[in-house]
Structure formats: structure tokens, C-alpha cells
């Protein structure tokens, strides 16, 4: 009797970690795959629609403009946080966090591309990327963490 209670208890306490493993391996990869497809759909022959230049190339005249913004909050899973903490002991590049931040930036930029093509703009100039972190409590033992990315720029029509 006490054995079965112990088994149920250990399964319950392990279940978030199992969910975390499945989420890391399956859910995150599926989301990244759809992001890749969305990026492919928006690639144009003469390059990206986003640029950090303050003027459009070729001295083209701007007919219409508006400021556009896109943001995303991305979080690593428990497993990735744990791997990150272990790697921190040895130092060097923390690959799991690099990947999460890179994913968040790509997502924010892709949202900008989709927004401007929906609104009929040709290009985004002067793109800026801002990054900051979100935590639920300060310095506590809490695992909630995330990175927030804001991408903004001036959408223009030639």
C-alpha cells in the first residue's frame, strides 16, 4: 500500500519534468519549424525587407511612412534552465540560452515582416532591437524566466 502511494507521489513530482522534456524536444522544434516555413514564405529575391539603414537604398523617395513595432517574450524550459546552470559551472558558451534568444529575435523580426506586408508597406528602415529579461520574483527560488525582445522601425512605401 505504501509502495503504491510512494509511486504515485514520485510520478506526480516528476510530471513537470516529463512535460518539460516533451516540450523541449517536440513542442519547441515544431514551433521553430513553422517559423522557418513562415520565413521562407517572406524571403524576397533582392534580400530582406528589414534594414538598419536610416534611408532607403538608391535614394528612393518615401511616399508614406509609419512606425511599426513587434514584440515577443520567449522562455527556456525547465530542462534548458537546468542545463544552463550546469554549463555555467564550467563556463563557455551556453548554447541552450543562445538558441532561445536567437529564436525570439527571429520571431520578432518575422512578425514585423508579416505586419508590414499585410499593411502594404514595402520596407522597414532603421530597425532596432531591444532586449530585456522578465522574472517573476527578484532573486527568489522561482523558475519563471523569459527574455523579451522588441523590434521596431519605420515602415515605408516608395
Amino acid at each position: 500500500m505504501s509502495d503504491s502511494i510512494y509511486l504515485i507521489y514520485s510520478l506526480l513530482s516528476l510530471s513537470p519534468w516529463i512535460a518539460s522534456l516533451i516540450g523541449t524536444l517536440i513542442y519547441q522544434n515544431a514551433k521553430k519549424e513553422t517559423l522557418l516555413q513562415r520565413e521562407k514564405a517572406h524571403s524576397v529575391l533582392n534580400g530582406d525587407k528589414l534594414s538598419t539603414l536610416s534611408k532607403p537604398l538608391g535614394g528612393r523617395e518615401i511616399k508614406e511612412f509609419t512606425t511599426v513595432m513587434a514584440s515577443v517574450v520567449m522562455s527556456p524550459s525547465w530542462i534548458q534552465i537546468t542545463i544552463g546552470r550546469i554549463v555555467t559551472l564550467f563556463g563557455g558558451e551556453i548554447n541552450v540560452f543562445t538558441k532561445i534568444i536567437d529564436w525570439a529575435r527571429r520571431e520578432a523580426k518575422q512578425r514585423l515582416r508579416e505586419d508590414i506586408s499585410k499593411a502594404g508597406f514595402d520596407e522597414v528602415i532603421n530597425l532596432r532591437l531591444e532586449t530585456s529579461i522578465i522574472t517573476k520574483t527578484n532573486g527568489g527560488n522561482d523558475k519563471t524566466s523569459g527574455v523579451e525582445i522588441i523590434a521596431y522601425g519605420t515602415a515605408i512605401k516608395y
Binding site: 512535460a19 513542442y27 522562455s75 532603421n126 530585456s132 522574472t135 524566466s145 523579451e148 522588441i150 522601425g153
Partner: protein, 109 residues
Amino acid sequence: MPFTNIETIPGQTIVQSMGVVTGSTVRSKNIFKDIGAGLKNIVGGELKAYTELLQESRNQSLYRMLADAQARGANAVVNVRFTTSSVAGGAAELLAYGTAVIVAPMNIQ
């Protein structure tokens, strides 16, 4: 009021600068959204509740910046920048700042 994050308003010339205008806000989600975000954090990926929070607060800070510009008698804001920081647990600060200017239509020669 038009605002851009480039140095000019396209098609118009800057007549006068009215100084730096800022707008900021610190916002947080309610505890239920925080719990939801905590659960989503187990598997990782996007935390939609916090993305929403960010969108609300950046609209608010933008609105405050434009109100500041209007109070100074400007009719446009150029070189707008956004920065974020996390002040305390669960709250995010979003600051928008730029240069308030008076613009006039360019004379066509």
C-alpha cells in the same frame, strides 16, 4: 501626431526642436496570468501573457510621450527609441523617448 524612429519626417523639414520628450510606464499582469506563464515556462516557448503585457505598456508609454510633445507645442516626434527594463518581479518598465520638433511641409521648387 506623426512620429518616426528616423531623423526626419519624410517630405517635411524640421523648423524647430522642442527638446527631448519621454513617456514611461511600469505594468504587471495579475496573479492568475503569472501562474499561467509559470506553467507555460515548464515547456518553454512564447509566454503570450507577457507579450500582451508588453504590447499594452508600449502603447501606454507611446501615448504619454506624444502627450508630452503636444504639451510642448510640437507637431511631430523624431528619432523615437524604446528601452525596457524589469523593475521588480513580474513588472516591466517600458520607456519611450524622442525629440519633439515642429515640422513644416517642404517647399517644392
